[in-house]
């Protein structure tokens, strides 16, 4: 029996210490995911709590076939999507319109940012863009899957993603240029 199997068995038996251990093992990774999908730390923490509550309630459904972290991650992403859908202040921003039309750039910038800085840039995207970008670029969901998850068409998902990507690439380039400028001034 692996460590994870033992941990899960203990959690299912109601062992609070095991449950806390499971939480502590994955809390950091999952908080980072929640942070990417939301606009504030408070919201991220709300999603994290809801996600972990679902994890513990559905733990008996985990078959052990895949990696436990990946299974928890899927639950966390679903919790984030539900939260965005249910939270009013995200609703207006979730409407996927063409307000943010930008020319699609073919050049991919080199990212010289920290993970936190990149996550902060992703969080600057409008909610609809942010969600689709996270789902496709980071989580690796296909546009067909995203369309099913968000109740939109595949083409919408594809076009919104490309716009989000262009916007983010522009910001990354600008962020990098600004940082270089600052360094030059400092030098």
């Amino acid at each position: 029996m692996t460590d994870n199997s033992r941990l899960i068995a203990a959690c299912l038996a109601g062992d609070v210490a095991a449950q806390e251990q499971l939480y502590k093992t994955f809390a950091g990774q999952m908080m980072a995911i929640c942070y990417r999908y939301t606009k504030s730390v408070t919201d991220a923490q709300d999603v994290l709590q809801e996600g972990f509550i679902n994890v513990f309630r559905c733990l008996h459904q985990y078959k052990g076939g895949g990696e436990l972290g990946a299974w928890i991650r899927r639950i966390m992403v679903n919790a984030a999507l539900n939260y965005l859908k249910q939270t009013k202040r995200y609703q207006g921003d979730m409407v996927l319109t063409d307000d943010y039309m930008h020319p699609v750039s073919g050049d991919d910038p080199v990212i010289n940012l920290s993970a936190k800085e990149l996550a902060d840039l992703i969080r600057q995207l409008p909610s609809g863009y942010q969600t689709i970008f996270n789902l496709h670029a980071v989580e690796g969901y296909s546009h067909v899957e995203i369309a099913g998850m968000m109740g939109i068409s595949e083409s919408t998902s594809r076009s919104q993603y490309m716009r989000a990507r262009t916007l983010l690439a522009t910001w990354i380039t600008k962020y990098d240029a600004d940082a270089t400028k600052k360094m030059n001034y400092a030098g």
Binding site: A27, G28, A32, A44, L48, F52, R57, A137
Partner: protein
């Protein structure tokens, strides 16, 4: 998986990204997972809604049936046996036995039934306040005469000899329909020949309710509709349904004093009303029976306008065909004797239904629909055969009824919707309750009637 340069960089960066949540997060999670699940509360709400719906329906129905007079409670009588072995009609709850002079068995005043052959029916007249008793071998049916000064004239019959049925009818059943005396009560005892025990107490014979039939409630037919899932805006929904209904043996009195027998025609809550051959519908003897069986089908198209995941409206055009058979058995006074009448009827009805419904999804596991069902009867064809049996002769009459009608019959509609998943298919199960008002299918000029109707809609919403 994206293999572009930018995506690759982002994934590499994000794979090691971690953030520590606040210290209180675990405490909150731990509290939540040790509490009962919210889902159970949703389930409880579903049951609570169902109970509320049933309770409201029952309360309304009860109110409708009893608002005619407070004397209804007095009709809950129980047949007992006295020490003579004869069935006895109990006193009404509103009066004590001391108030009632000579209302016991054995104070026969007028039971002039001698000489009547077995298997025949006679009337036994009672004096005010007194009961009447038939002697064995003589009477098959007796009737107590009502007197306004002392309305508690109970009627009791003894066994009428081998081969005879004894039917007792209370005085209250034959009073003038304009009399409003809450003390009057009705009860019927039937004592089968040769068996000295009270056999049946027919329920619901209430003061001021002279007709033996209540409008019957019939089940509606199940419908299957197809609705494209997750589609907002307009869409056409094909719908079809078919069903059967059967109702038997009604022995209650009706509220409408001016009608004879009435029963509903599925599924339009229509009514057929028969007037006994003597023209006096209020003279039908309580205890009459009716059996109906019907078949109907319906098909059409509904136009759905979905505004959001929660709200949608629906209207359309449905054609409906109904066919049903009805058999009546009833009796009416005819002089000192009774006529037994049996009537067979078969009807074909063509109608159009135009629903106007509003759907609201309250929770993920429960929604509600409500609105108006607008029924338009186009034609109704009927053929009826009646057999009249008296003490002397049997006669058979056959009559055809064909009428063109443009009857509009609105009905309020209410339905809780419950989603269900079977494999890849998603359904919405919607048991509905419908309350019809206004005019109805009229054969003999009955007044407007009201009727509850129930059934189930099954909507295919995903595949």
């Amino acid at each position: 998986m994206p293999d572009n340069q930018l995506e690759k960089q982002i994934q590499d960066l994000m794979s090691g990204f971690e953030l520590q949540p606040g210290a209180g997060a675990w405490t909150n999670i731990q509290q939540a997972i040790t509490q009962p699940r919210r889902k159970r509360r949703v389930f409880a709400w579903w049951w609570l809604s169902g109970l509320l719906l049933l309770g409201t329906g029952w309360a309304w129905f009860y109110y409708e049936q009893h608002k005619a007079g407070p004397a209804a409670a007095a009709t809950q009588t129980t047949a007992t046996q006295n020490n003579t072995g004869l069935p006895q009609v109990p006193e009404p709850a509103s009066k004590s036995a001391a108030d009632e002079p000579n209302a016991n068995i054995g104070t026969t005043q007028d039971a002039t039934t001698a000489g009547v052959p077995a298997n025949k029916e006679v009337l036994a007249e009672t004096a005010p306040g007194n009961g009447v008793q038939a002697t064995a071998g003589d009477a098959a049916v007796m009737r107590g005469q009502h007197n306004n000064n002392n309305p508690h004239a109970a009627v009791v019959a003894n066994a009428a000899g081998i081969g005879n049925n004894v039917v007792l009818t209370p005085a209250a059943a034959y009073i003038d329909s304009t009399v409003q005396d809450p003390a009057m009560y009705g009860s019927v005892l039937r004592n089968m020949a040769g068996l000295l025990h009270p056999e049946t107490l027919l329920p619901g014979l209430e003061a001021n309710q002279l007709n033996p039939f209540q409008p019957l409630q019939v089940p509606g037919e199940p419908h299957i509709q197809v609705k494209q899932p997750h589609k907002h805006g307009w869409q056409l929904m094909p719908t079809a349904g078919a069903g059967v209904s059967a109702v038997a043996l009604v022995t209650r009195t009706a509220n409408n004093q001016n009608s004879g027998l009435s029963f509903s025609v599925p599924p339009y809550s229509d009514y057929l009303n028969l007037t006994p051959s003597n023209g006096n519908s209020s003279a039908v003897i309580p205890g009459a029976t009716a059996n109906t069986s019907g078949f109907s089908w319906q098909a059409g198209v509904l136009l759905d306008r979905t505004f959001s995941d929660k709200w949608s409206v629906e209207s359309g055009l449905l054609y409906q065909y109904s066919s049903f058979n009805a058999v009546f058995n009833y009796r009416v006074p005819s002089g000192q004797l009774y006529q037994s009448l049996q009537q067979h009827s078969k009807y074909h009805i063509h109608a159009i239904d135009v629903p106007l419904l509003l759907h609201w999804k309250a929770l993920s596991v429960l929604g509600f629909s409500g609105g108006l069902m607008n029924g338009f009867v186009i034609t109704a064809n009927g053929r009826s055969t009646s057999t009249v049996a008296t003490t002397t002769a049997f006669t058979t009459k056959t009559a055809s009824i064909k009428s063109l009608m443009h009857t509009y019959q609105p009905a309020f509609y209410f339905s809780p919707d419950v989603p269900l998943r079977t494999g890849h298919l998603q359904w919405r199960i919607a048991p509905y309750l419908q309350y019809g008002i206004g005019s109805a299918f009229k054969i003999t000029g009955n007044q407007g009637q009201r009727l509850w109707q129930t059934g189930v809609n099954v909507v295919l919403t995903g595949w």
